[in-house]
């Protein structure tokens, strides 16, 4: 699956207007039919027979590519498999099927090899909760130093200290020497998250997997960090897999957005197209309820698609299209056959039988979100 950047898709909104557009790079990461099925084991009998009762299909066959210097927003609700996907990429969870290709090399099975350490140097994870990620008894410098020591990076103590200070500086903690000696409780939430980012940057990674890095933070601090992440991409050519439940954060940050539901990608494409012209009813519903500080206009509430119920349990994935029990546009075929991702033009793909006819097809009676002008 190759995605061609379409001309005319504007850059994400946060960087200064004069920031140069990121050149479309080569493919950095590719996931091929990735699957993560967790066995459900109940009692003693299951342990003896070694037959699990079933499987939680957390990730159920996804294909994804991220190009060098690109920000891919992976959006989904709880239970969509977005975090598990991120954990597979950083090798914290082992896939049960499919392949992970990084920089042209198959990295699906690195366990127990020296290559794993080298891979982890190049792919770093930023966690959601800066309060839990940092050890309260360690200084900031100790937190940032740890990955260097574990990986044996740096020729001397002095060299390491240099790297630590440089990473803190890059993450916007200035003066770095002042922050290095502090403890986490002396920092604000935004500063803590910057420390976590510095801990990832010190390894000089190529790919950063950011799992909800801003969802715990206040809006103004959130914007600051999103801007920092964009600056780092511009200055260092960093590539991001940005995992979030918040479509509007993906909207301002990501070049492309992939929407996950119950272990599958429902829609993927350039951010402009996925938000403005969603073709999958699930994406349409998500966009229609996406938070906005504009008080609803008369009639806008009625035009919203609030889905009933919650995402089903991934141990009991519905047959056919997995979204069909909650889909407002469900028809017979959806209950039987699972739709593949159909190409709908402009690098956008949607897993929905209504998108089968490709770019020319009308949305039928699909309710579409129309953006107000301006």
């Amino acid at each position: 699956m190759t995605v061609i950047a379409e001309p005319g898709i504007p850059e994400p909104g946060i960087p200064e207007p004069e920031s140069p557009p990121v050149a479309p790079g080569r493919e950095l990461l590719r996931l091929e039919n990735l699957q993560v099925h967790f066995p459900i084991r109940g009692g003693v009998m299951d342990m003896i027979t070694r037959h699990p009762r079933g499987y939680v299909r957390a990730v159920d066959g996804i294909d994804l590519t991220i190009n060098q210097g690109e920000i891919l927003g992976l959006v989904g609700e709880s239970g969509s498999g977005k975090t598990t996907t991120g954990r597979v990429v950083v090798k914290l969870t082992r896939q049960t099927g499919g392949r992970v290709v990084f920089d042209g090399q198959d990295v699906s099975d690195l366990w127990g090899t020296g290559k794993l350490r080298a891979y982890r140097r190049r792919v770093q994870l930023i966690f959601q909760d800066p309060y839990e990620t940092l050890n309260p008894k360690h200084t900031i410098a100790e937190f940032v130093r740890e990955p260097l020591e574990v990986n044996g990076i740096g020729t001397s103590r002095q060299d390491r200290e240099q790297r630590i200070l440089a990473a803190l500086e890059t993450a916007g903690l200035r003066p770095a020497a002042d922050f290095a000696a502090r403890f986490p409780h002396e920092l604000s939430g935004g500063q803590r998250q910057r420390v976590v980012i510095a801990g990832a940057l010190v390894m000089d990674p190529d790919l950063v997997v950011a799992d909800e890095p801003v969802s715990m933070l206040d809006v103004s601090i959130r914007t600051e960090l999103l801007r920092l992440m964009l600056d780092l991409r511009r200055e260092r050519g960093l590539t991001y897999l940005f995992i979030t439940h918040d479509l509007s954060v993906a909207w301002v940050l990501a070049d492309r957005i992939a929407v996950m539901y119950l272990g599958r990608i429902m829609e993927i494409g350039p951010a402009e197209r996925v938000i403005r012209m969603p073709r999958n009813p699930y994406t349409q519903a998500l966009v229609s309820v996406s938070p906005s500080p504009d008080p609803p206009e008369p009639g806008e509430r009625a035009a919203r698609t609030i889905l009933v119920g919650e995402t089903p349990d991934a141990a009991h994935v519905p047959p056919g299209c997995r979204f069909h029990p909650r889909c407002p546009l469900v028809f017979d075929r959806c209950r039987v056959d699972e739709p593949p991702l159909f190409d709908v033009g402009g690098g956008q793909q949607a897993a929905c039988w209504l998108a089968e006819d490709g770019p020319g097809a009308q949305l039928g009676n699909a309710r579409r979100f129309d953006a107000p002008e301006g």
Partner: protein, 363 residues
């Protein structure tokens, strides 16, 4: 000030004895709250005034540490041990709650003012059945027999969209959205005059959040609920509230009808806050960053507390506390950009096509 007696007439329980039937539902005047700290006193809330009418929904917004939760908790004196109300009045039906003792104020909690706490997972007792938890305030506060309390718990669950049989479930058996609904049912248990929601939808998925907001909207309509919603999420307020109060560093920055404040924010802080909000309904524009950090409230700056971060700061801002100016459309703003003499002038960027023309008399 209109008093909607129809809503008060729906009360299932008698009004408190000293209540003035003609008084407004809630009036907070010049409320100040302090926290004792080892190295000084934190002025968490400093001279905050607002009101709430029957059937109205007020949103209190601001960043962490702006005093929004403290303001709400001090209404029923649920402050942490080191917090105390330094001054001001909190009048419910004309009764000042501030001088009440712990024993006296307890009678107002749940019955008159209830709170839906943040993080339903932590607020519910994990080893008690949902039904029993909802029935408890009915038994204790209203002295109802156990059987009828349980029955009412079932009715309340149904009201918030959970099947009645779920009274026998434990919190871990419910999803996040259902737990939040159970919390709302509990807050409604004693048919209170005011429900306070402290970040009621934070940490929920967008779709579940939309469902909860829809529920609150329905409850407001059906029960004539009076609501105070505390959140850092401006979209939640846009969705559910009539009025919004923006707080910064323990003070009110701007307060007024949601539609007016959000479509033409006057205080620079409100403007910054709104333009730093990611929004799929707008272009992928440059999101604003508010430089700097909120002040240390042990030692707040003199004058306007936002002045050190304000793009429009003038010399007067760091010297004189800005007075609150009330505009003709009822919005009040504490900012030196709006001298008391020309309150009638339209704010910069005001949309002329606002639903009703600015000019109606202030309430």
């Amino acid at each position: 000030m209109t008093v909607d007696l129809a809503i008060r007439g729906r009360r299932q329980w008698p009004m408190p004895k000293q209540a003035d039937p003609a008084a407004p539902l809630l009036r907070v005047e010049d409320l100040s709250v302090r926290f004792r700290m080892p190295n000084g006193s934190v002025k968490a809330v400093d001279g905050v005034s607002f009101g709430l009418d029957d059937g109205e929904a007020l949103g209190i917004a601001g960043e962490s540490g702006c005093g929004k939760t403290t303001t709400a908790l001090s209404l029923v004196k649920l402050l942490p041990a080191n917090g105390y109300i330094k001054g001001g009045r909190v009048e419910l039906f004309g009764i000042d709650l501030v001088p009440k003792t712990e024993l006296q104020i307890a009678r107002y909690r749940w019955r008159e003012i209830s709170i839906v706490f943040q993080g339903a997972m932590n607020a519910l007792n994990p080893v008690q059945r949902i039904g029993d938890q909802i029935a408890e305030p009915i038994e204790i506060r209203l002295g109802q027999p156990r059987e009828s309390s349980r029955k009412r718990a079932g009715e309340l669950l149904e009201l918030v969209g959970i099947p009645r049989e779920r009274v026998a479930s434990y919190p871990h058996e419910l999803s996040g959205g259902m737990r939040q609904r159970a919390m709302i049912a509990m807050a409604l248990a004693c048919d209170p005059a005011i429900v306070i929601g402290d970040e009621p939808t934070t940490a929920l998925d967008v779709m579940v959040q939309a469902q909860i907001l829809q529920l609150l909207e329905r409850l407001r309509r059906d029960l004539g609920l009076s609501l105070i919603l505390i959140t850092h999420d401006l979209s939640v307020i846009a969705e559910t509230c009539d009025r919004v109060m923006i707080m910064y560093a323990g003070r009110v920055a701007e307060e007024g009808q949601v539609r007016r404040v959000f479509s033409a924010p006057r205080h620079p802080y409100t403007q910054k806050l709104l333009s730093s909000f990611p929004n799929v309904r707008t272009d992928r524009r440059t999101l604003e960053v508010i430089p700097g950090m909120p002040p240390d409230l042990r030692n707040p700056p003199p004058g306007c507390r936002f002045a050190p971060r304000c793009p429009s700061a003038m010399p007067v801002c760091s010297e004189v506390v800005p007075p609150e100016v009330r505009f003709a459309d009822g919005v009040r703003v504490a900012c030196h950009l709006y001298p008391t003499s020309d309150v009638t002038s339209d704010p910069p960027g005001a949309r002329p096509a606002a639903p009703t023309a600015a000019g109606e008399p202030a309430p």
